[in-house]
């Protein structure tokens, strides 16, 4: 493991706990996107796991992701699930090699630059909102 990052550490429950979903949620609600970097294969993810989704390594370092990035793909959803008003846009956004699924405020195209503008809240589960 590399040097710990105080900007990340303040959300973690303890040095050995790794990145929990509770910590990830708390950070997102303060406009900080947390993720994990794999020490073995280098994969960066915005979805905390107990092991690297690509190589299975447990050597995952909690990291703060940039809050701006590029749209990799997007869709405008006209028939929303219960609890959402349509139409709304959902995208896969790449933030320094880590990709996450996020809501987007307005319609965007692949390749557009977007930045974190807020949080979607449903059933006590926050989701990042870009614009």
């Amino acid at each position: 493991m590399s040097e710990s990052d105080p900007a990340v550490d303040r959300f973690l429950e303890g040095s050995d706990a790794g990145l929990t979903h509770t910590a990830w949620k708390r950070a997102l609600r303060e406009d900080v996107l947390l993720g994990e970097a794999c020490a073995d294969c280098g994969h960066r993810s915005g979805a905390p796991r107990a092991a690297c989704v690509r190589c299975g390594s447990r050597e995952l370092e909690p990291i703060a992701l940039p809050t701006s990035g590029e749209v990799i793909t997007e869709t405008t959803i006209a028939v929303p699930p219960e609890g959402f008003d349509g139409p709304h846009t959902v995208a896969i956004v790449e933030l320094d090699a880590a990709r996450i699924m996020a809501g987007v405020e307005e319609s965007v195209d692949i390749g557009d630059s977007v930045e974190l503008v807020g949080v979607l809240e449903r059933d006590d589960e926050p989701g990042p909102l870009f614009g």
Binding site: S45, R54, M101
Partner: protein, 388 residues
């Protein structure tokens, strides 16, 4: 080498059914048992798929309930849930169970009620379906299943130039095939213009790019190699592949690859000792038109990026080089989630037996089924061949 044989097949029409899950299942299971000529006492186990009954109908522990309803109380049962790949996974386990010895004859099927006519309305059902997406890292963004496949397909369009017209051609073909299938939810032809003019669901998909919510059931009787010869019309299962891919989709290596389908296909081809070129026809998981394009590439029928042009050129039509979804597919036949996988096996069985009338693929001796679950996270691929 056969792993097992399908010796009986049955399914309901797909569409609205105002019946209980047990009643609906019986309408597939009893005909499958009659087709095989088996009765209580001949069937060693029941494997059954149902995806949403716990969520939508407060109905779980379905194994013994369905067994009781069809006269099989007492046999061991197993219920499966793998999103839309639910009953092909049940089928896989039935095949493995007779292949490896614990059972000789297994009844396997699926049942689901999803139509707004008989259950939840569309927003509630859309929410129930999306339970298969990642709870923490996908659902809060407001994603839906048309949205998941919209994301994958938009990327495919960006990388390869796949067009909305090419996607529409998939719907037109599957609707045409569906008109030849008396069990199809939709029995009406459509055209490219009507597809492109239908209301937006999740771009690039319009209503006519999307499969319907259906009610329905399907079932087959699987027998071991040792028992198969004692039945009238066995069709051999020669290969099965089953793989998963990373959830959430953002972490996948390549969004357009449907990696689990590639891995499952490679396993199934290897087990059956065949290649994509040997397949005479295919039933695949066209939950959305874009999903069919991605699947025809993942299964090796066309090179990456060629799935759209191939659909447009008619290469996947009933009289094309590789007929895809002669049943009408999920698009026209319908998609009662947990019943879809074994319904594909019913179509493979009846095509290979030469029993399907006007939608019969000529010389259909080798068929392939591709059943996908969740955000392309589970895929099962099954190869079936005429008994030689």
């Amino acid at each position: 080498m056969p792993r097992a044989s399908v010796v009986g097949a049955g399914m309901t029409e797909f569409g609205p059914h105002d019946k209980t899950l047990s009643e609906l299942f019986a309408e597939a299971a009893l005909p499958a048992m009659a087709d095989a000529g088996v009765e209580r006492g001949d069937v060693d186990a029941l494997f059954v798929g149902n995806t949403l009954g716990g969520t939508t109908e407060n109905d779980t522990h379905l194994g013994p309930k369905l067994a009781s309803h069809v006269g099989l109380a007492g046999v061991p049962t197993q219920r499966f849930e793998d999103a839309c790949a639910t009953s092909s996974n049940a089928f896989k386990h039935a095949v493995r169970a007779v292949e490896s010895g614990p059972h000789d004859v297994v009844l396997v099927g699926g049942v689901e009620r999803c139509t707004p006519e008989t259950g939840l309305d569309t927003p509630e059902m859309t929410k129930a379906f999306v339970s298969a997406a990642d709870r923490q890292y996908e659902q809060p963004a407001g994603i839906t299943f048309p949205g998941v496949f919209g994301l994958l397909t938009k990327r495919h369009m960006h990388e390869y130039g796949t067009t909305e017209e090419q996607l529409a051609r998939v719907a037109v073909k599957n609707h045409a095939n569906g008109t030849l299938n008396p069990r199809a939810h939709f029995g009406k032809e459509t055209d490219v213009e009507s597809v492109l003019d239908s209301p937006l669901v999740a771009d690039p998909f319009r209503l006519m790019d999307c499969c319907p919510f259906s009610d329905g059931a399907s079932a087959v009787v699987v027998a071991s190699e040792a028992f198969a010869d004692s039945f009238d019309a066995p069709v051999d299962v020669t290969g099965i592949g089953h793989a998963t891919d990373i959830v959430p989709i953002a972490d996948k290596e390549r969004l357009t690859a449907t990696h689990s389908a590639r891995e499952a296909a490679s396993q199934a081809y290897e087990e059956a000792e065949i290649g994509a070129d040997d397949v005479d026809f295919c039933e695949l998981h066209d939950c959305f038109t874009g999903a069919e394009v991605l699947a025809t590439e993942a299964l090796g029928f066309f090179a990456d990026g060629e799935g759209g042009p191939a659909a447009e050129a008619g290469r996947t039509e009933l009289d094309g080089e590789i007929p895809i979804n002669p049943s009408g597919g999920l698009k026209a036949k319908g998609h009662p989630i947990g019943a879809t996988g074994t319904a594909q096996i019913v179509e493979l069985t009846e095509q290979i037996r030469g029993e399907v009338g006007s939608r019969q693929v000529p010389e259909a001796t080798t068929g392939l089924a591709h059943n996908l679950g969740g955000d392309t996270a589970t895929t099962l691929v099954t190869v079936m061949e005429a008994r030689t």
